[in-house]
Symmetry: C2
Subunit: 210 residues, 2 copies
């Protein structure tokens, strides 16, 4: 917790950090836990201390797609707008690994906005970041072919975990990219033939010239 305080100190004022400690609720989740689910009321905004959260979106026909990831110091702009308006969640947030976060109650969100300039800029930065992530997702889906998206996905996975070996089944990948297992298997095999990676059961090892 000491560590957290120091880290927040980089972009939030001291008084605000004290308030966060006082008002915020510390929560922790295990890998795979559902932090926010569809159609639930959102009563807090998460400020992530450690770990990674995957944010997904589902449409009317239950097609699900990956929106973006959130990690340390980030927070979910979508959650913000939702809980300011007391709306039901249109997104689902899942813990990618073990996640610690501070849940900020929604009454405070608004109050702090006028009270603390650093909170205001933090929130606006979050918005901007999320906008950009969404735009990037949009571009990715609109313009890039599936193989490019897959490569990008694997690169990102490897970056956030810090490992070149990715522990995922083809099925899991397919679900996140919104396609089917067979398609992913096909593309992965192709990449293996190009010597960019090696396939094992439940594991993909990225090679140097990936």
């Amino acid at each position: 917790m000491k560590d957290l305080k120091e880290r927040l100190r980089n972009f939030l004022e001291l008084k605000l950090i004290e308030e966060i400690e006082k008002e915020g609720k510390f929560m922790s989740f295990k890998e795979g836990d559902v932090i926010i689910d569809y159609n639930k009321n959102i009563k807090f905004m998460p400020l992530i201390i450690s770990g990674t959260i995957r944010v997904m979106r589902k449409d009317e026909e239950d097609n699900e797609i990956l929106l973006y990831y959130l990690s340390s110091n980030e927070s979910c702009a979508m959650a913000y707008t939702c809980c300011m308006e007391a709306r039901k969640s249109e997104i689902k947030a899942i813990a990618e690994d073990n996640v610690e976060l501070v849940a900020i109650p929604h009454e405070k969100l608004d109050e702090w906005l006028t009270k603390y300039p650093s909170w205001k800029s933090y929130i606006f930065n979050s918005f901007t970041q999320r906008f950009n992530e969404l735009l990037r997702s949009l571009e990715s889906i609109a313009f890039h072919k599936l193989d490019q998206r897959l490569i990008k996905y694997l690169k990102n996975k490897s970056k956030v975990t810090g490992k070149s070996a990715i522990q995922l089944s083809h099925n899991q990948i397919a679900e996140e990219l919104g396609t089917s297992r067979v398609v992913i298997s096909r593309l992965l095999k192709q990449l293996e033939n190009e010597k960019k990676l090696v396939l094992y059961r439940n594991e993909i090892k990225l090679l140097s010239d990936f």
Copy 2:
């Protein structure tokens, strides 16, 4: 201008409206005018009085795509985050028809946020709206086939113009949907065969069971 004042009165406080009149710069654009272009510095946020603005996005390979439309009383959240950070524009805004707007200088944006609660909620509502539009675009592209997207596009066009006859060439439609003319022609012809519309030169007339 009197009309504007009354309309803003619905969701902004009086003092703020007076400030907007004092500080904002009234601007008008003709159909096709570029209001904001890529890589330009954004020095103001537009608050739209009348008309419709089309917001586009281009990626590295010059693929362009329609993000959303803005109309009366709306404003561009993207512009907001851009000019708060004095960044270059990553979007392009084009006047769909004759557009009148009030340009709010970026120094005021931040100031009003703490000063006027109604401004704060207005801005946050804008963000939420834009988020939702983006998510809808994303869904549309990710999950819906081109024919569905085309139908949606035509419906929307007809709604904002208030006419069942749409004055556009196949080429223009293709560009906005990020595809090629031939493809649009093919789909339109298909829809014509299904008696959903009638095709003319530079015009598409939607029929009753569209």
